[in-house]
Each structure stands twice: as structure tokens, then as C-alpha cells.
């Protein structure tokens, strides 16, 4: 029996899709929200130090299933690797209700005005497809605010003199400082920097009917057991379902977007939890599967009218895959600096996001924020070895004993320069459990990411030294393909269909009822964790969708 026709089908219940589903459902549209993963509870996501979203040595706890979802990765030497979701190069984002927001660290960054005008700021860069966004910070500002208040953000960025203008303060105060914060804050001030309380999608006080954070440090990589961390799974998705207009279907794997003879989207074909092929027709199709899977779905949706996939006439789908080149430093102290008080990260500086100069005074392209690190479980500290400390043996054990509680990490995401050949493609041979061609990842970072990474790491070292560290060393980004949980860029937003995939309202250029709403549309990815920007874009695109909605088109 055919499934009942609806107004909109949204593919992916993460940061973007959850919000779109809620906005459409509250506006009165009927919505089916399709999610390939499950809806986890705190019980399902126990605080397992070796099996979580960050440490996957014993597997991957927020999906997708290890044995059903391979990807092909082509390394810089051109060798192909068949990967499981728990392999680092797989670039996994979570596959569950809430997507990455169920297990993220929950930093809530607004990108800066210059982050939307990277080409105007830095010019044309050889080897990079660096460009301006077709929208500005001012266009998104009201939607950042909506995300902050509706999903829930705590923090205080009043001392961040580099922040973009905001009309309204954050709805919740910051959590009280932990010991690292108390040590790092005066040190930054002595250096003339501008430290402030990181905005976080986390309840510092009871909010939205849920409790405040209990200050455990199991944030990033885990689901919050007291539901004080705010994602789409505990905010907008329940609201969407409560309207009665939205149905959530979990463990459903979308195979392709279906189009009619005129080239309009008419729904999706998907495998349900029992692996039966289903067709859900809809007036609108919204793809929110995150940068890698959204691109894969468009590329796998081939037909006579769209022989290379949907939105791909100019061969831009899957291009410009970006994440963040994480960089920073660790400092060792001769006194205890670690106090187990969560969420861990709490203090940041934005002094080095833009306007940076190298050792010889030369202007640098881009930058990133710096913040202290989240969780540090004992096994994670094993790899934080100071220079000269061996990997194993008596000296390594002694090092662990001496410095586990006497070390601070300061890290930050370098805003990467997009690369046309850093890309998501579909593999010509390998298929997943359902017979759908899998993702094929290839490419590498722009050399500038290393330059800026070294610069930012040197600033992190200087900050730690000023805070009293006796030894510091840098963590520098690799040269390989970026992606991971901050994946973005594969369905670029732009005014010119020749050099972008969606228009400035997230609508695919040549299919007027097909939208991509997630990090895929980012032209550039900011020197920040991208979650709040994905949410803001989802509110912004939904607003336009609802405004232009003229009722059911052509349905019986």
C-alpha cells in the first residue's frame, strides 16, 4: 500500500533537519522526518570511555552500524581503503535522532561577519575555491538569536570584543568556572587577549522544562544523562511531533530522491527498519543528512533528466568538503590544574580569528578561535605525550602518573580554505548493506591550513606558558582530507548555478522543490564549531519555505 502523501519529507533528524521539520509542522504542513539511526536514551549511551563518539577503539556508539555502512577513502598516495564507521578517515558524523547534537560538546558559535565574506577579506587564493557567501551575517543574525533562545544557550560573550553584533544577550548565564578557567583567564588578560565564557547549547539553569548541567565532564562524545545538553532530539523534534503534523520514522535508509517527468522532486525511496523498500511522496523534499551523506544522496539520485545526480549539472555536488584543521597545544604544570568539573571547556578567545600576522609581519589568511579542551579520560591522555616521552615503558607510566592532573590543552579549529578536489563522490563498485553505492572520499587540505595551524598553535603555547606551564608543545593539523563531525561545504550556497548547488535560500538551483539544509551549504566553515550556524540556517531557510508555501502542489 502506498504511503500517504505529505507536504514535506525531511531526510535526516540532525541539527538542520530537526529544525526544518519543527518549523514546517508548526506552520501547518504535514511532514515526514526520516532518520537512518535510532533515538537513543541515556541508557543506550552509557559513559563508555572506549566506545563513544570520540574514542571508537571498541566501536561507534551513535551509529551508523559498523558492518552495514562502509565507505571508500582514497589517501594522498592514491591508495584506496575500505573503511568502517569507527575508522578515523571515515569522517563519521553521528547517525541518530539529534544527529551530532546528541553527543556534541555543544559550543554555540555565531560565525563572524568576515566569515561570510572570506574572498572580499582575503582575495582570490590560488588552489582554493574561497568565496563569499551569498548572504551576510546580518541576514542570519535574527536566526542565530532564534536558535539561541529556542534550543537554549548559556554563556557570556560580552567580553569578546571581536564578536559580531547581537541584539539580545544569551538566555542563560555561564556555568561557574572550573580550575583551568581560573588559571587561563588572568593569563590571557596579562597577554592583552580577550577571554570570555564560551556560549554553549547547555542548560546552566533549568530551561525549557529540563534540568541544569550537573557538571560532569562527559559531554563531548556522549549523550547527556540528565538531558541538560540541548540538541534537536530534546527540543524541536519533540515539539514537531507534538503538533500532530510530523511523523518521525527511524532506522530508515533513504536510497534516492524521486523526480517526475518534468524534473521536480516527488518524494523519496527508502528502506525501512525491516529493509523493505518504501516510497514516500511529498510536495517538498528537504535533504539534511550532513555534508557527506547529503551529497551522496543527491549523487545517487540519477535519472534520465539528471544523469549525474540532482543539482549536479555543474559538477559541484560533493566538492569543497571542509571540516576543521584542529590545532593547539598542551602545557604541563608543576601543580594540579585539573578538577573534573564539567563540561571542561569554558574559556575561549577570538583574538586570532582574523587579522593575523606571521613572524615576519606578513598577513595570514584566516584563523580560528582557541578554547580549553573538554573531556580528558585516562586513555585519551595516553597520546598527550610531551616531546621526549617514549610511547611505552617505565618512563611513559611515570609521565602519566605525574602529569595527568597537571596538564591543560588549548585547541582551536582553523578555518580551512575550500578545495575543489576535496570531495565526496559515490564509489563505482562498493555498495552498502542495502545495495546503495557508498561514499568515496578523496582530496587533501590547502597548504595554508598548516601555516595558520602553526600560527594558532604558537599562540596557544604562549597562553599556556603565561599561565605557568613549564613545558608546552604544539598539536598541528595533518595535510589529509578534512571532514569529520564539522563536515561542511559539499552543496555550496551561491547565486551562480555554475559555481554552486543551492541558492541563497538553500533551494537546489534546477529543482524548485528540493532543498539542502545542513552544513553542506556552507561556503566556508568559520573558525568555529559549526552547529549553531547550521541551526540558524535551518531557521532561516524554513522561514523562506513557509513564506513561499502556497499549499499542496498537484497532490490529489
Amino acid at each position: 500500500m502506498a504511503l500517504k502523501h505529505v507536504n514535506a519529507v525531511v531526510v535526516g533528524a540532525g541539527a538542520g533537519g530537526g529544525i526544518v521539520a519543527k518549523q514546517l509542522a508548526t506552520a501547518g504542513l504535514t511532514v515526514v522526518l526520516v532518520e537512518r539511526g535510532k533515538w537513543y536514551t541515556a541508557f543506550d549511551c552509557r559513559k563508555d570511555d572506549l566506545r563513544n563518539q570520540r574514542t571508537t577503539v571498541l566501536g561507534n556508539s551513535f551509529g551508523p552500524a559498523e558492518d552495514r555502512n562502509p565507505r571508500v577513502f582514497v589517501d594522498e598516495q592514491g591508495h584506496e581503503h575500505l573503511l568502517k564507521p569507527s575508522d578515523g578517515a571515515y569522517s563519521n558524523n553521528a547517525a541518530c535522532v539529534g544527529g551530532g547534537t546528541a553527543s556534541y560538546g555543544a559550543m554555540a558559535w555565531r560565525y563572524m561577519e568576515k566569515d561570510f565574506r572570506m574572498r572580499s577579506t582575503y582575495g582570490t587564493i590560488a588552489g582554493s575555491t574561497l568565496d563569499d557567501w551569498p548572504i551576510s551575517y546580518a541576514d542570519l543574525e535574527p536566526y542565530y538569536e532564534k536558535a539561541e533562545w529556542e534550543i537554549g544557550v548559556s554563556g557570556d560573550d560580552a567580553n569578546n570584543i571581536f564578536r559580531s553584533p547581537r541584539r539580545r544577550p544569551l538566555p542563560m548565564p555561564p556555568l561557574p568556572p572550573n580550575r583551568e578557567y581560573e588559571i587561563l583567564k588572568p593569563a590571557a588578560q596579562r597577554l592583552g587577549l580577550h577571554p570570555f565564557d564560551i556560549p554553549m547549547l547547555r542548560n546552566s539553569v533549568p530551561y525549557n522544562g529540563r534540568a541544569a548541567c550537573m557538571r560532569c565532564r562527559w559531554c563531548v562524545g556522549f549523550a547527556c544523562e540528565v538531558d541538560a545538553k540541548n540538541g534537536t532530539q530534546n527540543t524541536v523534534i519533540p515539539t514537531a511531533l507534538a503538533t500532530g503534523n510530523c511523523e518521525l520514522r527511524t532506522e530508515c535508509i533513504v536510497k534516492e530522491i524521486l523526480t517526475d517527468s518534468r524534473g521536480r522532486a516527488k518524494g523519496v525511496a527508502y528502506f525501512d527498519a525491516q529493509s523493505r523498500l518504501q516510497e514516500q511522496t511529498a510536495d517538498l523534499v528537504v535533504v539534511s543528512g550532513s555534508a557527506i551523506e547529503s551529497a551522496r544522496l543527491l549523487l545517487n539520485s540519477r535519472s534520465r533528466l539528471f544523469p549525474t545526480g540532482l543539482g549536479n549539472r555543474s559538477d559541484w555536488v560533493g566538492r569543497n568538503l571542509q571540516g576543521h584543521a584542529y590545532t593547539g597545544a598542551v602545557g604541563l604544570f608543576d601543580f594540579e590544574v585539573y578538577d573534573d568539573l564539567g563540561p571542561g571547556a569554558g574559556i575561549a578567545i577570538c583574538d586570532f580569528n582574523h587579522g593575523n600576522h606571521g613572524l615576519n609581519g606578513e598577513g595570514l589568511i584566516s584563523g580560528g578561535m582557541l578554547a580549553n579542551e573538554f573531556i580528558r579520560l585516562p586513555y585519551q591522555f595516553v597520546g598527550w605525550r610531551a616531546p621526549g616521552v617514549p610511547r611505552w615503558g617505565r618512563a611513559h607510566k611515570e609521565y602519566m602518573r605525574q602529569f595527568y592532573r597537571r596538564s591543560i590543552g588549548v585547541m582551536g579549529p582553523v578555518q580551512e580554505l575550500p578545495m575543489f578536489d576535496s570531495r565526496v563522490d559515490v564509489d563505482p563498485k562498493v555498495k552498502d548493506y542495502w545495495g546503495i553505492p557508498v561514499v568515496r572520499l578523496s582530496g587533501h587540505r590547502h597548504p595554508n591550513d598548516q601555516v595558520v595551524g602553526k600560527f594558532l598553535a604558537s599562540k596557544a603555547e604562549a597562553w599556556l606558558k603565561e599561565a605557568g606551564a613549564t613545558t608546552t608543545w604544539a598539536f598541528l593539523p595533518g595535510t589529509g582530507l578534512s571532514g569529520g563531525q564539522h563536515q561542511a561545504g559539499t552543496c555550496r550556497m551561491g547565486d551562480d548555478p555554475q559555481t554552486s548547488v543551492v541558492d541563497k535560500y538553500c533551494r537546489v538551483h534546477d529543482v524548485d522543490n528540493l532543498y539542502v539544509v545542513d552544513g553542506s551549504v556552507h561556503v566556508t566553515n568559520g573558525g568555529f564549531n559549526p552547529a549553531l550556524t547550521i541551526m540558524a540556517i535551518a531557521y532561516y531557510a524554513s522561514d523562506q519555505l513557509v513564506k513561499s508555501w502556497k499549499g499542496t502542489h498537484g497532490a490529489s
Binding site: 541515556a42 559513559k47 570511555d49 566506545r51 544523562e225 579520560l377 585516562p378 611505552w392 615503558g393 607510566k397
Partner: protein, 172 residues
């Protein structure tokens, strides 16, 4: 009859009266000696006491299933290298000899005839990583007996404040 039924593919993970799920007694002895050089006993117990062999053996019947061949051939190659160099199996070598052989492995220079199937450097890197997991990881995975590494690091229990993971009951 039960023995006949167990003789299928599942045998390796239900090895009758042997103390281990996958490893043989000889393999476990060699592995314990290696682990105890990677994290040796000092004023705190070492990896062998902490149950790292149990951790690895348990994971070889779970997430590390695909690494069984690496362990079977790798541990045999360690003893073969040891016999070639010193005329004895690894576990009975003195500390200096054990460390010398492990450093050769680390550098990929262990006696080559023993390492036709896999690289000694790769196998050693695997052993270091798994030993660290078993020693510093949560006891629920089979190692870190008595939370010994967490006590050593001065980490409260649970290691980060919060409710114990097994205090969370499945909603009914």
C-alpha cells in the same frame, strides 16, 4: 555431543577448560610478559596484574575479532624471534633481553624469518595501543583491575564526576 556442537566456528570463543576465550595458555603467557614491559610494575602494579591479557582476550571475541590472525601469528613470531636470538621463549627472558627484542620489533628490525606474514613494528604498535586501553580503560572492559590505573592517576571514581553508567536503568 556438546563437544561436537562446540567444534564449529564458535569454538575459539568457548575454549572449554582453557582459561582464555581465544588465546592459548602459551600465547597468554607471552602476551602478559610483553604487556608488563609496555606498562611495567613499579610502586603501582603493571599491565599483567591489571588484567590487560583478559581485556585483549575478551575483545578478540568482540570488536577485535578481525585482529585474531594478527595476534595468532604475531605472538608466535615473538616467540620465534626470541628463540632465534636467545634460544628461549619470550616470557622466560630476563628484562634486558625482553626490552631489546621489543625495541627491535618497534623499529621493525626483529629477526625477519619470523615476520613473513606481518610487520613486527605494526604488531608492536597494536600491542602498545591495546595495552594502554586495557590498563587505562574502564574495568568493565576486562582490564584495569581494582581501577588500579585510575587510583594511580588520582582520578576519583567514577573517573569523571557523574552517575555511574550502570546506575542508569533502562526505561520500562
Amino acid at each position: 555431543m556438546a563437544a561436537a556442537a562446540a567444534a564449529g566456528p564458535g569454538l575459539a570463543c568457548s575454549a572449554g577448560r582453557a582459561p582464555w576465550r581465544f588465546l592459548s595458555a602459551d600465547e597468554a603467557r607471552t602476551l602478559a610478559a610483553i604487556c608488563d614491559q609496555i606498562i611495567p610494575p613499579d610502586e603501582h602494579p603493571g599491565a599483567a596484574w591489571a588484567g590487560v591479557v583478559n581485556y585483549i582476550d575478551r575483545q578478540l571475541c568482540g570488536p577485535f575479532r578481525h585482529l585474531r590472525d594478527s595476534y595468532r601469528t604475531g605472538l608466535a613470531a615473538v616467540d620465534q624471534s626470541s628463540r632465534a636470538l636467545y634460544g628461549m621463549t619470550f616470557a622466560v627472558l630476563d628484562e634486558t633481553m625482553q626490552l631489546d627484542l621489543l625495541r627491535l620489533m618497534e623499529q621493525g628490525r626483529a629477526p625477519s624469518e619470523a615476520w613473513q606474514q606481518n610487520s613486527s613494528a605494526d604488531f608492536f604498535a597494536l600491542l602498545v595501543d591495546h595495552t594502554m586501553q586495557g590498563f587505562y580503560g574502564d574495568p568493565r572492559h576486562g582490564g584495569n583491575r581494582d581501577r588500579i590505573s585510575w587510583k594511580m592517576l588520582g582520578t576519583p571514581y567514577p573517573p569523571i564526576r557523574g552517575r555511574l553508567h550502570y546506575d542508569v536503568n533502562k526505561p520500562t
